[in-house]
């Protein structure tokens, strides 16, 4: 099985490799997969006050297709709102990267990683809102 050019490109020139401070309130972190399965993806998003994703970073332990899927996912969510990013389907990744059937699960994991990051930042927002209201009341 030869790698598609796009998969090789994402490996050699990965987009958005890196880490954000997971403690920040406007950063959502999704970690999916497990070392036993041979795939672990960490995907992080930074949102502004309008719930728009202004930055995204990833780190992946996995095969070339897994790396490319998560790299592509960070490219696609940048500039989108949280609700728009929730619409990302793994099938779009499969098509864009020309993934063979045996690698489709890599795209599913990338979709899971995006959703996990979104869920994380939404949870944080829900937690900070009551605190902000209380702070507003005090201040």
């Amino acid at each position: 099985m030869a790698y598609s050019d796009k998969v090789v490109d994402h490996y050699q020139n990965p987009r958005n490799v890196g880490s954000m401070d997971a403690g920040l309130k406007n950063v959502g972190t999704g970690i999916v997969g497990a070392p036993e399965c041979g795939d672990v993806m960490k995907l992080q998003i930074k949102v502004d006050e309008n719930d728009r994703i202004v930055d995204a970073k990833f780190k992946t332990f996995g095969c070339g297709s897994a790396i490319a899927s998560s790299s592509l996912a960070t490219e696609w969510v940048k500039g989108r709102t949280l609700d728009e990013a929730m619409q990302l389907k793994n099938t779009e990744i499969v098509t864009e990267l020309a993934l063979p059937p045996v690698k489709i699960h890599c795209s599913v994991l990338a979709e899971d990683a995006v959703r996990a990051a979104i869920a994380d930042v939404k949870k944080k927002k829900a937690q900070t809102q009551p605190a902000a209201a209380a702070a507003g009341a005090k201040g």
């Binding site: 790698y3 090789v8 490996y11 999916v32 497990a34 070392p35 399965c37 795939d39 332990f61």
Partner: protein, 403 residues
């Protein structure tokens, strides 16, 4: 640098000397070795007999004890199924090991489905079974022990002479799959008490599709039921027109391997050790799988923590190697051999097998070191596991979100 081939345990290129020896048997000397009545047949038969001698010499056997096959898979099937069926009245217990090649495991599993009992020995973490393990598994109804001479994934060599001696003492037939060891390390079927031995030409710079099975004729005379019927060739053990050019190639390859072995095994072990030294010098958190003391001279299996094997191979894609990672197998299961050594899945997924060969040069090894180091560092930079480990997180304590 042109592409580098370090996957010689998978297969090898045909040596030019071997190809030269074969060509006449495709062209003017095309006779069927079983045609007894004309020169075409006699020329073919003579070539086949010479090849028998060449193969027998490598293992100190008689040429009468060499049966031609299509390769080790067939040889293993013939030995295991053939002995099991022939000696079924004596017993139906077989001893083998969990990390054998599928060409041994699958016939044994098949026999289990046919009412035979198989003891699957677990190797130690380096891949070796002990004599005590074999001894303790032996029963009155044991008819066969099948243990590979050297493992294809990690290169570990079993204590073969001791196993052979034990089998002799207990009157149990001893088969060894010597596919990876034949022509690489000294083998003596007499001194080592081996009764059956499989080999394949394509692992020793010969053509694919041909191999040999050694079947002992004296003390004891091993008999087996053939798995292929039709004409009674090869003393009734393997019917079918002989692949004369392939056999000629197999013999020539065996002869070259035997002649070169003393110097070549030293040279290649030196290159293998140079590769390990180079990787260890420039990378932390890598581990060697197998047994450095009892190992094939050409095989090096390394786990590179926090990076996955297939992505690593993509990182140095002009160097051909193989990996125990699940991502490289159609079944998405990690290497059962590495699992059988007790390696965690994460280490199995991070493993690379380098198997050097006759045509591997020092320059290629140095280039490989450079490229592997570069790829490992590139991937560790992208690896969430490496990041967590650097932060001091104990990965074994993390609860992962499985999907």
């Amino acid at each position: 640098m042109k592409s580098v081939y370090l996957d010689n345990n998978a297969t090898t290129p045909v040596d030019p000397r071997v190809l030269d020896a074969m060509l006449p048997y495709f062209r003017e000397n095309f006779g069927n070795a079983a045609s007894r009545n004309h020169r075409f047949g006699w020329v073919a038969e003579e070539a086949v007999d010479k090849a028998r001698e060449q193969v027998a010499k490598v293992i100190n056997a008689s040429s009468k004890e060499i049966i031609w096959t299509s390769g080790s898979t067939e040889g293993n099937n013939t030995a295991i199924l053939g002995v099991a069926r022939m000696y079924a009245d004596k017993g139906k217990h077989i001893i083998t090991c969990r990390i054998e090649h599928k060409a041994v495991i699958d016939p044994c599993k098949f026999l289990e489905s046919q009412g035979y009992e198989v003891t699957w020995l677990d190797p130690d973490p380096t891949g070796r079974v002990s004599i005590d393990q074999v001894k303790q598994s032996m029963r009155d109804d044991t008819i066969l022990v099948s243990l590979m001479f050297a493992n294809n994934e990690v290169g570990t060599i079993h204590p073969i002479p001791e196993i052979g001696a034990l089998c002799k003492a207990r009157d149990v037939i001893f088969h060894t799959d010597a596919t990876q060891a034949f022509g690489k390390v000294p083998i003596d079927v007499e001194a080592m008490g081996i009764d059956l031995l499989s080999m394949s030409a394509h692992k020793i710079y010969g053509p694919k599709g041909v191999g040999a099975l050694y079947v002992r004729r004296k003390k004891p005379r091993v008999r087996l039921q053939p798995i292929i019927h039709g004409g009674g060739h090869e003393r009734g053990m393997r019917s079918g027109t002989l692949n004369v050019p392939g056999i000629v190639g197999c013999g020539a390859a065996a002869e070259v391997a035997l002649d070169d072995m003393p110097t070549e095994s030293v040279r290649i072990a030196g290159l293998r050790d140079r590769l390990w030294a180079g990787l260890s010098e420039h990378l932390t958190e890598i581990s060697r799988n197998g047994n450095p003391q009892h190992c094939l001279p050409n095989t090096l299996n390394v786990s590179f923590l926090y990076v996955e094997g297939e992505s690593l191979m993509m990182g140095f894609s002009d160097i051909a190697v193989s990996s125990g990672s699940a991502c490289t197998s159609a079944s998405l299961e990690p290497s059962y051999v590495l699992k059988g050594l007790g390696l965690g899945d994460d280490l199995a997924h991070s493993s690379i097998r380098f198997s050097l060969g006759r045509f591997t040069t020092k320059e290629e090894v140095d280039y490989t070191i450079k490229e592997v180091v570069k790829a490992v560092n590139h991937l560790r930079n992208m690896s969430p596991l490496y990041e967590m480990a650097q932060e001091g997180i104990d990965l074994s304590k993390v609860v992962w979100a499985h999907h």
